[in-house]
Amino acid sequence: MAGLEDLYREIILDHYRNPRNRGELETPPAHMAEGFNPLCGDEVQVFLHVNGDTISDISISGQGCSISQSSASMMTTAVLGKTVNEARQVIRAFKQMMSIHGDDLDGSDHDVSGETVEPNISLGDLEALRGVVKFPVRIKCATLAWNTLDQGIEETTS
């Protein structure tokens, strides 16, 4: 049985209590993308400033549970300063981690969707969110900010 400790790792609680890159950026030059989780009412705004090819600034506002808020916080630290393409790779890698079936967790790196796994991407602290897949209802919480970032990148670069 998956216990609470699998879900609420210390690093997650730390990002929840002390969120990084929290707040709003001026639009323009930044771009704002908004995401909703209709299940629980969580909402997130991702402010994204793309300078040339690089994410030069990013911040998060909105409200949500510890999983959605910490995931958003960790996401900002993971993509800040990265190029848009690098950010896309991190997004893909994170979403792949969130789509692995809970039963296959231990030592397995294959992806049930059959897509190519991003082999060279280290998710670092984000690995702490791996336990979320054992709680399927919470996957949407963890991916909310990421889907919103994905949408924001599409909107700014299209």
């Binding site: 049985m1 690093i11 629980c40 009412g41 969580d42 409200q63 510890s66 999983i67 919470r138």
Partner: protein
Amino acid sequence: MSASANNVADTPLDVAAIKADFPLLSRQVNGQQIVYLDSAATSQKPRQVLNALNSYYEEINANVHRGAYQIAEQATSATEEARAHLQRFINAPSDNEIVFTKNATEAINLVAYSWGRTNLNEGDSVLITALEHHANIVPWQQLATERGVEIRWLPITDDGCLDMVDLEQMLDGVSLFAFSAASNVLGTLTPVRHLADAAHAAGALCLVDASQAVPHLLTDVTEWDCDFMAFTGHKMCGPTGIGVLWGRAELLDAMPPFLGGGEMILNVTREGFIPNELPWKFEAGTPPIAEIIGLGSAVSYLESIGMDAVRAHEVALTDYALCTLKERHGDDLIIHGPAATGDRGGVLSICYRDVHPHDLSQVLDQRGICVRAGHHCAKPLMKVLGVGATARASLYIYNDKTDVDLLSDALAEAGEFFSHQPA
């Protein structure tokens, strides 16, 4: 136990015996005995209802209003007996006013499509309240978009009751007043008869969303003097997929059919169709026969307990919950909605410290406790309350003081877990 909790009236129900009627309540989740506190979302089902569903399929499964053979006649009469039973249960004047729908949402949509699109045009208004579930908001918003119908919102007071100071003024020129009898978020019971009288005095009709009322208290459409009432079966010990629209016969008669197809016609030619009589005019296609029979059985089950006893039990248990939770958790706990149990049902929307409701329900789940976390399909109300979400514990006939105590313990545990500072 506290002195105040000791003063709480005792339940008239034999809860242990009732619990034993519900097979699901004997199971474990996450290694714990289940504590089901989400009956406002859907109730559990007693063995009597499950048996009724089974016997239909095992003994009289046949389509209704069609075959002349024995089991078809038995299925038809079982369906129509259930309809008559529902009529008696809500004290409706006639069983042809009982229209079976998929759920309360479909019942309200039926009125919005059939009555609304016949009678409402640009410049007309519908009054709803700040308490409403999305089911009693969105169908009217669709009419607003399509027809330019104005939607007015009756506000609520700080303690979650309807603010009726400007009711008369807000009803001025309104064609329909659509409101819930009981809030699915705050538990607020609204003064239905008073609201219906006010609507009629203003020349408006009224529709009552009674989804959270019919399972919990004596419902009497004649006493309420309303015009339409919608409710759903699965919150009152019945199966999913079956709801009821009750409407005054003269109103239903004047309304065009909602969905077209079999069952709802008297005759069809290449040139057109003649709609069937009430209530079948509004029941296109093969109805959910097993579910109708199951709902009839659920009504029998509730009647065997007695709706007055159901209400008395819930008042006593809600009182106990409000007293003990507040006493133990003090300012850590906010319970939204009316403070007096006379004004509310057993729905407790809670915020605990700064623990997000989603996280709270996760911790509770580890203790086998099922509560709902989120906006409860009432986002405009959440905005009024100034919160994005709440955790909602809702009580029913099979809940007892132990369930409330376990909830209370688990809240303390959740508070502990989330206040633990990382190293």
